[in-house]
Amino acid sequence: MSTKATTKTTYQLPIGPIHPALKEPVMFEFEMDGERIIEADVKLGHVHRAIEWTGMRRNSIQIIYLAERICGICSFVHPFAFCRAVESACDIEVPERAHYLRTIHGELERICSHMLWAGVAAHEIGFDSVLFLTWEMREKVLDLTEYLTGNRVTKGIMTLGGIRRDITPDQIPKIKETLNYLKDNFEKLRHVYLDDKTFKMRSQGVGILTKEDALKLCAVGPTTRASGIKKDVRVDQPYAAYGDIDMKHMTPDLLTGEVNGDVYDRIIVRLLEVKQSIEIMEEALDKMPSGDIVSEPKIPKLLAHIKKTVGEGVGRDEAPRGEVIHYVKFDGENENPYTWKVRASTYNNILAWIPMLKGEQIADIPIVAASTDPCMSCTNRVTIIDKNKKYILDKEQLHRLSVQKTRRLMR
């Protein structure tokens, strides 16, 4: 789109590679007509770090920790999806208790991620008091993560054929306490995000993704569910312990009775999912059977088994942002996978940005871009180039524009 000749009435606006919404690099090129976006283009690759290439030179146990560093927020689901791919390729069994523990940690991560997103969304429209309110609640979830895994972000608890840390009975009261705290405060959060006039003004009818576009562009996660497509790996093809738990797709019509596919609907979906995650965690804690947490604790034996395996496997997993899929192939000669392919969720949501952004104003770019909860580190995996573009509207200026629009609407 950069090569297209511009007429007198339109002009080009490059934004990035410093990200307009998050603190991660991505490059947008807009074709503008006054304040309206008529064409949008996205350029990636600024934080590509060749993780897949590196991984093909490491053994499967080492990759778990590498996969964990694909993304700081999805630091559980990436190793989870990788382990599931290897388990399916090499026929490694997983004990029942480990399935439940994996479910609990997965949901804990989802709560963390959605609350982080909600705070960022509030910040993008200049509502910083809500950012602090949300993140105060998120802090409790992070404390719980630290209590259960020993770390706040990179948890390091995943392993092939199970999980590395058990939840002991004396840890359960603390988990229940945090979950109750979240339930008690959920109503406050819901009220601020869904009833507030300013939020509604900035999010309703903005960044619309139609059901048809979402399906065609293969969008995933809350982005596609907010457009009314029922797609959630946890429900469609239950893995871990999700098959034992009664759950359904979270679409905005459950709350409002209609689907618009705008930013407001994406907020609804994420809030509903936080509530759903709390319920799943409680149910999983109650139903959790006793037993081993890992099927083969001897790692050399496990690696010897993997070395002999010829086969391929796919691990699919519902990350907070949508489906994550890992593909591995073993050739029967090496401990290293012959091929390892990672597909993060934002990868599939990039094309969905274009119909969302078309027709919107410059000041709406941050909130619309943020509404898919993009994670560029997940999507990009090598080095950085700087093209010294002129007329770059930096993040600060863009954020100021967005805040000004909120102020204007409030007057």
């Binding site: 392919k341 990868y347 090598v382």
Partner: protein, 177 residues
């Protein structure tokens, strides 16, 4: 999208009836999970390159699939592309994963685009072009996706032979970077 929903076996038959022996391999794997042993169904197919485009058309006539990603295996003589689709999503616990592999000869690494049927495949097709060096015929946007613009031509990071990254790492002058 009007056809009734088929089970995994019916789905394999649906394709076999149409393409006969051009489907070289069709396996159904079922793996249980959790206490209730819910089953996860994967179909693994290997098809001939000549029926690739009609196969995708036939698939879209049955149901519009979700295209997850294309992965690629670099073998000594050919490149195997694996297209990962999901079908029947939205029906609780009934989703089927369809993995379709197709071999592309190294002497002429080319394959047709599927963007005309599934527009969402663009990102992954662009990635395959730069990472594996498979030319996608008819791709609507052939620019690079992840690699920088000054990355040398003819080097494909996921290739395991002389076209791979080894040269770039050890003998940088040879690639005129």
């Amino acid at each position: 999208m009007s056809k009734e929903n088929l089970d995994p076996k019916g789905l394999v038959k649906y394709f076999k009836d149409e393409f006969k022996t051009k489907i070289k391999k069709a396996e159904i794997t079922v793996k249980p999970s959790g206490s209730n042993k819910r089953e996860m169904t994967h179909i693994w197919m290997k098809i001939d390159k000549s029926i690739f485009k009609p196969f995708i058309k036939h698939l879209c006539e049955y149901q519009f699939p979700h295209m997850a990603v294309v992965s690629g295996n670099d073998y000594p003589k050919e490149i195997e592309l694996v297209y990962h689709f999901s079908l029947d999503f939205g029906k609780e616990r009934k989703e089927i994963s369809l993995n379709v592999a197709v071999d592309v000869p190294k002497s002429k690494p080319e394959i047709e685009t599927i963007c005309d049927y599934i527009p969402g495949a663009l990102i992954t097709e662009r990635e395959k072009q730069e990472m594996l060096g498979v030319k996608i015929i008819g791709i609507p946007d052939s620019r690079r996706l992840f690699l920088p613009d000054d990355f040398p031509e003819g080097v494909y990071p996921w290739r395991k032979n002389e076209k791979g990254m080894e040269k770039l790492i050890r003998n940088l002058h040879e690639v005129k970077k």
